[in-house]
Each structure stands twice: as C-alpha cells, then as structure tokens.
C-alpha cells in the first residue's frame, strides 16, 4: 500500500495504491493513470527558459511538449542551458528536438517577434 498526492491538477487528491496497482481516492480518471505511472515510470513536465537574442527579452520560456522521465530532468536542464535562440519565435515552435533521446521536443511558451 502506498499513499500519493496526485499532481495532475491543483486539486491534489490523496491517492492510495495497493500491491496490485488498484487506485482509490482519485476524483477523476487521470488520477488513476498518474498513480500507476508514478509507481512504475514517474514523469514530469519540465519548464525552464533558454537564452534569446531579441530586442524585447533576454529569456524565452520553454517546456517539454509531454512529461519526461523524472530521472532525466537534470540531463534535460543541461541541454536546455546550452541553447541560444533568436527572435522571431512563436508559441509552440520547437526549440530543442528530441531532448535526451526521449522523442519529446522542448517548445517555446511565448511569442517573441522582435
């Protein structure tokens, strides 16, 4: 038996998972998926910034398109901190392809045109 706090949304449900991966305490189906993943392959969406050459800003906020394995977060940060991008950038533009060979891209969270 393991107790978890669901992090899928700010509601923060208190989840209980038994030995057979049966989940209780969740208020929505996403809680069950979260609890199972958390005990087998925990993942997190990574958000950070990269350097941008622009008139308007010096950092561009970015995120992983999908959650990536928790144990790769620091490796991904190393890659992110090596990148310099240039305006114009639009929301959703790929900033780093296939971060840490996960098949997941790091994308821009803000449009910076100048």
């Amino acid at each position: 038996m393991k107790e978890l706090i669901c992090i899928i949304c700010p509601r923060g449900c208190h989840l209980v998972v038994d030995e057979n991966l049966n989940v209780s305490g969740n208020n929505c189906p996403r809680g069950e998926i979260y609890a199972k993943n958390e005990l087998t392959n925990p993942t997190r969406t990574l958000t950070s910034t990269v350097k941008i050459i622009s008139k308007k800003a010096c950092r561009l906020p970015v995120k992983s398109e999908k959650p990536i394995a928790k144990n790769l977060l620091f490796n991904a940060m190393d890659e992110i901190n090596k990148v310099t991008t240039k305006s114009p950038v639009r929301i959703g533009d790929i900033v780093i392809k296939n971060i840490c060979n996960t098949g997941i891209n790091i994308i821009a969270c803000k449009t910076i045109l100048e």
């Binding site: 992090i7 969406t45 950092r59």
Partner: protein, 417 residues
Amino acid sequence: MIERSLVVIGGGSAGMEAAIHAYKLGVRDILIIEKNNYLGGILDQCIHNGFGLGEFKEELTGPEFMSRLSEQIEQLKINYRLNSNVLNISKDKIVTYSNKSEGIVEIKAKAIIFTTGCYERSAGSIALPGDRPVGIFTAGQAQLYLNKEGYLVGKRVFILGSGDIGLIMARRMTLEGAKVLGVAELMPYSAGLNRNITQCLKDFNIPLYLSHTVKKVIGKKRLEKVVIAPVDEHFNFIEGHDLVFDVDVLLLSVGLIPNVDLLKNLGITFTKNKGAKVNNLLETEIPGLFTAGNVLHVHDLVDDVVKEAREAALGAARYLKNELKENASQIETLAGNGIGYIVPSIIEIENVIEDVTLKFRVKKPYHDKFIYFSLNDKIIKKMFKPAIIPSEMEVVTLKKDLFINSTGSLKVYVEEK
C-alpha cells in the same frame, strides 16, 4: 475631459479577462491601464505549468495562459495603455494616470474595474530578526530575476514560508543548479497546494520544517547563515532545537498583500483580509467601482481569478446598462466558526440573476465536517467536506430561491462537535 464607459485598472489576468468579458457583454468603450510594458502581469514570470485546467481544459504555463488572453485583447481591438501609472481615482470616478508620451491624463469613467493584484510581504513586514545583508529576496523577486533576466540569485538557499511561489522557486532553483536546504513554515500545515509539496519538495528531497521559523539572520555584507527553530502553538520559540544553515540566499514566501493603495482615499471599507468590501456584483461601496482578482482576495489559481473577473465584468456591464436596482436591500455575510473570510461581504438578492457565489477559506484544516449556511439562523444549505484546508479556496453557489429573506445575515460556519 475624456470620457470612457469602462476603465480597467491593471492589465494582468483579471484585468484582461474583465475587459474581454465586458466587451462580449456589449461594452465597447473600454480602456485598460497597465503600469508594465506588457499585458499579463505576474503570469509572465510564472513559467511553470498547471495553469488553465479550469479555463481551457489543458495544462498551460503562465506565459501561454497570458497569451490566450492578450491575443483576445488584440483581436477585439480593446484599447490599452502600457507603461502608465494610475495616480488617483476620485469618488466621482475620475481616473488620473501618467505616462511618457501623454503626460498626465484625466478620464471620466462611467464604470471602473480595479484589478491591480497584490504584492509580496517583505522582510520588514514580517519583522525578520537579525542582520540585513544582501541575499534576502521575496520569492517573486528571485523568480523575476531568474525567469525573465536569467540571473540565479544564489547557490545555497533556504526558504521561509511554504506559499506556492516559494515551493515553485525551490524546484526552479534546484533545477538551475542551486542547493535548496529546506523550507520552514510557521504553521503546523503547509500554506501551498499539496501537489506543489510533492512535485517541488519531495521530488528533490527538500525538507519541509513545519512549525518552524527563522530565529536569526546572520551576515555582514552577504547573507552567511540562517538559524531556524521550532515554535509552540503560541508561536514562541522552543529552546534547544536550533538548526543552523550556511546559505547565501533566504527567500521569503510569506504571503501576499492586496494592492489597494489607490482605493485608500475613497473612504470605503476594507475587510479583514485587506481587500475592499464588496457586494455580490463585486461592486465596492462606490457605485460603479468594481474589483476582482488578487486585489480583492488572494486566489490559488489563475483560473479562479479570471472567473471572478467575469463576475466583475457582468456587474459593470449591468451597471452601465442601468439594470441594477439602486439601494437594494442587503444581506450581510458572516464568517462563523472556522471560516477565515467570505467574499462577498454583502448580497443584494434583488440584483442576483440566478445564483449567489460565495468564496471562502477555512482558518485551519478540517476532516469529515459539515459546512453550514444559515440565513437569519435558519439553515439553508449544508455540505459535507471529507477534507478542507486553508490553502484551498472554497467556491459555493447558492440558488437565488434559497434566499427567503432579502435582509439580515448569512452565516457560514464549520460544525464543531
């Protein structure tokens, strides 16, 4: 003097959504006044995700959420002024602002929506004991430096206060290579959301010291050490359990204060949570002056802020169309046992369309309790809560039909056995 139907003061999430919604309700002559050089407010530096699940049914970062709103402002061609400081609001709703290109401008507003957000409590406002070296920042300041300027304010960090911004910064600074040695919280429970305790502290093995606070700050020029000690139930230090941390940064995440200064000379009443006293239309004691968002009361989620902004926009639109009954009879809301505060303070049932929305927080965590709503001592609703905590705002809607009287008081309280 220039006249405007609606002036929105503050172009953060509440102000943008208030303007957008007022526009959708038929108000056309709108001006947003924003002190910064962009629309979006604090969301611009909140690069973490978790925004928008209520509003857009997807998980967005702060900048993405902000863009959804600012794009609508552009599409609807709603007027705004950036880099503009509001200097005064008068009782007859003349708004004075200044900026570099226009100088000092006065506008006569038919209605105002006041959405200036809040600011962070500082070292001075909590009488932090000890030295005042370089290295003490509010969590939001450190967030601005890191996320917008690219500066990490230190390498060895302690955080006082378990508010969400502090927890978010614990993770953020850890990911950028700083060592976060711990978070101290004066109360016996966290002030932040449960999910942030998990994903910001537990994920990185950052200890949370509940019922602990800073006893002393030590450092000549740069911060050198902080001394943390446990407190008893009266918040007095328990001797002999001091913890000393070698740090170069102390972050403060010790609460937010509604930015109501511009309302101070209007002679209106403020509630004990420091926002203006409002009725169910989110109208202050000055007819036509509405307020919403974190300047009214601090919200946990931007999704709740924009919802509230729509309530204020609806109030303002109805006011502008002369749809509101003047001098409507009033029901006062009372925070009873276990309840910290309630928004709104006044319900004008004659001005309610369908539902009355009440927002409140409990004073301390409760389990398996009923919350009662009693109108002139007659219970009109009760609801069971398996778990209810101060860091999560409760929103309850009550049908208009439940209000059999249109005067008196509505008390909200937690059942104590």
